[in-house]
Amino acid sequence: MEEQFAKTEIHKPENIVYKKSDLMVDRPLSYCPGCGHGTAHRMLMEVIEEMDISDKTIGVSPVGCSVLAYDFLNIDMLGAAHGRAPALATAIKRMWPNHFVFTYQGDGDLAAIGTAETIHACNRGENITIIFINNGIYGMTGGQMAPTTLPGMRSSTSPYGRDVPTMGHPLKITELIAQLPGVYYVTRQAVHTPNNVRKTKKAIRKAFELQKENKGLCFIEIVSNCNSGWKMTPVQSNKWMEENMFPFYVLGDIKVDGKLIEMTK
């Protein structure tokens, strides 16, 4: 009885401390259960909602799992050819310099097929925000090996684990582009724990604030899980990510205010 009373007391609109952003379209996400994409989408939309820039933000979604972002984000979105999102974003930003432009890309798209576009857009210092979801695998096409796949990590095209002498080293594209002078802010975050989600949101907010000030390109890598591709449960995959991905892809800021942060490793 007491609990009933408490419920009617608490369930009031003014007591809501957290709910899904209104900029997320009210339809079920097509992503697998436990996939970090949903959280990343939500944080992005929360930032845009808080900054009240939804009517002048244009997103570019490329090919990969994130291609469906335009179904879920209630802002203007464009679909780019595979890997060409930074090039398209460059054009949009030059046409409308007062608009906020971001790209939302996966690792197969940004680090493999679109390497040239990414590196050149970063080198030109285009005033856009790139959000890079790194799950170490080509998720949508069936879990093939990506450039970011860790050594020894199994995927459908490296069933015995990635063998470095024959398949090459994993690509730390975030560190690579942090070296470029056109890039102003580079950070690596994750979305698997509440603490990391809050940090990711702060990083996205910072990137959009810097874009407002025309500071240059901001690059946010979000290390995420791909439980379907990794053949694990969502909770297992988050644990696996902490144990295996984070030692290689170290979380934290890499470049702040145009200056590289000295890494301890």
Partner: protein
């Protein structure tokens, strides 16, 4: 004495049963249901009254199905 009480409302039809919220909750307020929703997923549900409205579960939920309420409740 005033006490902070929290409560969560889960949109069970949208829940995909990934159990990430279970790991995030500091008071084990959430557990998985035995029954399934229309898509066949075991959904998350609130099982006790320990919730403080910390929003941890809602933040990590990939599908954003959790709404969190928090209020000061007068208790004697």
């Amino acid at each position: 004495m005033a006490k902070i009480k929290g409560d969560i409302v889960i949109n069970t039809e949208r829940c995909k049963g990934c159990e990430v919220c279970l790991a995030a909750c500091p008071f084990t307020v959430i557990a998985m249901s035995k029954e399934v929703n229309s898509k066949g997923y075991h959904f998350a549900m609130k099982v006790n009254h320990e919730c403080t409205g910390c929003t941890n579960c809602a933040l990590v939920c990939p599908d954003g199905v959790i709404t969190v309420y928090r209020a000061k409740v007068e208790t004697e």
